[in-house]
Amino acid sequence: MKRSIACALAVMTMASVPMAVYADNVTVLTTTVPDATYTLNIPADQEIAFGTTSKMLGAVTVTESSGFALGKNLKVTVEHTDFVAENVSTTIPYTLKGYMTEGYISPQEYDLSKGLIFYGRSSYDNLGEYPEGEDEMQRHDITNIKFSAKSSDWGRALGGDYHSEITFTAEVVVE
């Protein structure tokens, strides 16, 4: 019995020695990555005249950004409700698209359902140009948000004061 206990103690002592040695060889590094910050600038509101089939609402831009880098970007999606009016049964649907003129011979329209991507640059700095080879449609310099509605939808709408809200959702994403 005593021998068994002694052996067990010896084994336990031997087993603890390698672990102590292992702990001494481990170096733990810690770091804190700062959260990215930014200011998202969105169009405030617009008066849309009855029967308007196309109108520019304003640009979506990102300013005062920090903590972004190549591969760490900001994605902005755009959702909206149809025009509705209190106590009126009809609604007026419309679409929103990105509208770019800079750098193009003719204006380009961009499907906003993909989201707007504001790309981080190689320096840990502000958001900037898109990487070469990427889809040119996903640029940071969408110059405007284009409103489009059908005249037939305007025509069948009952009278009233309609309103609609556009919500812009921004999220930091990594490639």
């Binding site: 990215a36 809200e165 919500t167 812009f168 921004a170 999220e171």
Partner: protein
Amino acid sequence: MEIRKSNTRYAKIGTCIILIVICLILLLCKCSSQEDFTEASTTSQSVGIVSTSSIAIPGYEGITLKANTKRQDVCLANPSSNQCVFRITLCLEDGTILWESDEILPGEKSKPIKLKQKLEEGTYPKAKLQYACFKMNEERTPLNGAETVLTLRVKE
């Protein structure tokens, strides 16, 4: 004859004094109007260009909150460049509302966040800050709004 001479002298002195006083008053008036002009231009420079056509929404990749307490130290701001009122809501990914602000005027901050429920220590991804924006009129007409997706880091 001497009395007349002294009267004339006093009259001249009095006239000079009156003229000096008038000049001083005019000088003071001119100086104060220049100060007003300088102050106005300084004020306009400090405010900068104010646009009523866009809204500036502050965004964060993450914010840190204290665990196991409703009272926090974090305040959220409405940029002074805005011409609209903010109402901000903080909610978890599943839609649970953690905090709703009072009206925040441009250039002002919210009161320190007081959560509706305590949070355990941990990381809560895809939380949302929902910004409802309103015109600064009596009706508080709704404007376009925004949401920013962020990570809540809850620590002791």
